[in-house]
Symmetry: C2
Subunit: 266 residues, 2 copies
DNA sequence: ATGCTAGTCTTGTTATGACAACAAGGCTGC
DNA sequence: GCAGCCTTGTTGTCATAACAAGACTAGCAT
């Protein structure tokens, strides 16, 4: 009777231990692919864990690990005693996703690019030293970037890097800028071979453009700007970058997808 | 030689199967407690999985499930071949956390409250119908709220609810407002016994206050406002609420903690 | 001294098996 | 007819076991 369980024939998507990738990863990719391709549609019921075990000839632990990750990523939802179902397609992407600068612009048909404005070493003042967890007066790299869409200024970045990585990132930024490609500071980490940042805190404020900001962004003084202040951490929880980004209010909006944090007050 | 492994004597935190709560939950709570209380400090090494198994007399699966969740929540980080370590304390909280309205105000020493401005049923226009995934002209509940700090307007909420839950939430809001307590629409869900929302998408923009908004918030026209547009989903991915919140730029900033999404472009 | 290797620690992956808890439909006894 | 039980199917929890793979060290060979 429970024939809403579609068979999703294997064979094509045979998963095998020789592929070097973990089995649960392969299974996860297969299922994610079927969901993204519409073979499995919203609210469809997936095969039960036992069926998946048989179909792909893996153990239940493997199946559960794959399903757990898909659940965490919001592609499926599970219901104790009933089964596993495909979530509505709208929020498939990663569980937490912030649309990056380039993508936002491209989606609006604008050509993104990034301009290197300059960089220098400065001694950390009290505030910088506190947020970056370093001693006062330590040298930090201060870097200014300008993000453009169709060569029109969109956002002004002001970044501070702790430690010796500032120089490396700064050189890279200058280089990439000359190639007229768009990049963010996260791209720099990757290219510099630095362990990727894992966590960040951000605050969003609406401010009125001050004279200097207005000049750089090409707007009138007092125009609304979206000021995003970020603090970037490594996986170990060490702060590595403090960044302020001032977006033109009339041109840009910040977009984010995230799970609701149930009123877990501290 | 590896004596940085502190013993964290059990006995006090004996975990037992009779407690009804799952073992991995109990273990997770114990470890989280030790981290929060400073018994385990930043970058301390936790006992290995095998040691934890022996100490608490549970299987490795249980230990791994506890550690996996703690990792996901950002309290610890793991390194293949080396061990498990306590993350820096700054970002302990939930992995993704948005500081809620009341908390933000209280931290600034302001007394939060929420005022019910009104509500009515209106037929959904094209935009509303699209985002809420309902047919055009379906009735939706439109509710206006005002968030105040020390009785000064801070934020203007405009919410739209799909389906029949609008009336319930609206009645609740009117009631709570008379009790002069602060609440958010999420509190309403809980109190109304509606399955809690699981996911939301938000966009942040800086806008200039229009006349009506300026009047309600008590600011001059053209002043910068932080406009946060949210779309709230259930676990199944069904949209249930569309909300616009306009915050006074000079009084409020939005704060968020989240993992970095590695350039996983779609 | 340098470099390689073997051994031993760690976490990561996977299998097998069992029972608990929840959901839903069908059956039985009233 | 209907309440309550029982069976079946599902996901959730937990135990035991084995091997893989990264990290580190001590010791051996060059």
């Amino acid at each position: 009777m429970p024939e809403n369980t579609l068979p999703l024939e294997p064979g094509e998507w045979e998963i095998s231990p020789e592929k070097s990738k973990p089995l649960y990863q392969q299974l996860k990719d297969v299922l994610a692919g079927q969901i993204k391709n519409g073979i499995l549609k919203a609210d469809d019921r997936l095969p039960s864990e036992k069926e998946l075990c048989a179909m792909y000839n893996v153990s239940r632990i493997t199946v559960r690990q794959a399903l757990a990750e898909l659940t965490r990523e919001g592609l499926i939802y599970r219901s104790h005693g009933k089964g596993t179902f495909v979530a509505r397609p709208r929020i498939q992407q990663e569980l937490v996703r912030v649309t990056p600068f380039e993508e936002t612009l491209r989606s609006k048909g604008l050509e993104p690019s990034t301009k290197y404005l300059g960089a220098s070493f400065i001694p950390a003042d009290y505030h910088l030293a506190t947020v970056l967890a370093i001693p006062i007066s330590t040298d930090v790299m201060r870097m200014e970037l300008l993000g453009l869409g169709n060569n029109e200024p969109m956002v002004y970045y002001l970044s501070y890097f702790a430690g010796e990585l500032g120089q490396k990132l700064c050189d890279l930024a200058r280089e990439l800028s000359q190639q007229r490609v768009a990049f963010s500071t996260f791209d720099l980490y990757e290219k510099a071979g630095i362990p990727a940042p894992a966590m960040l805190t951000q605050s969003f404020e609406a401010i009125a453009a001050r004279r200097e900001q207005a000049r750089i962004l090409g707007v009138k003084q007092g125009e609304p700007l979206l000021l995003v202040t970020s603090l970037v951490y490594t996986a170990e929880g060490r702060p590595v970058e403090y960044k302020q980004a001032a977006y033109r209010g009339d041109k840009y909006s910040f977009y984010i997808t995230r799970p609701v944090n149930q009123g877990k007050r501290l």
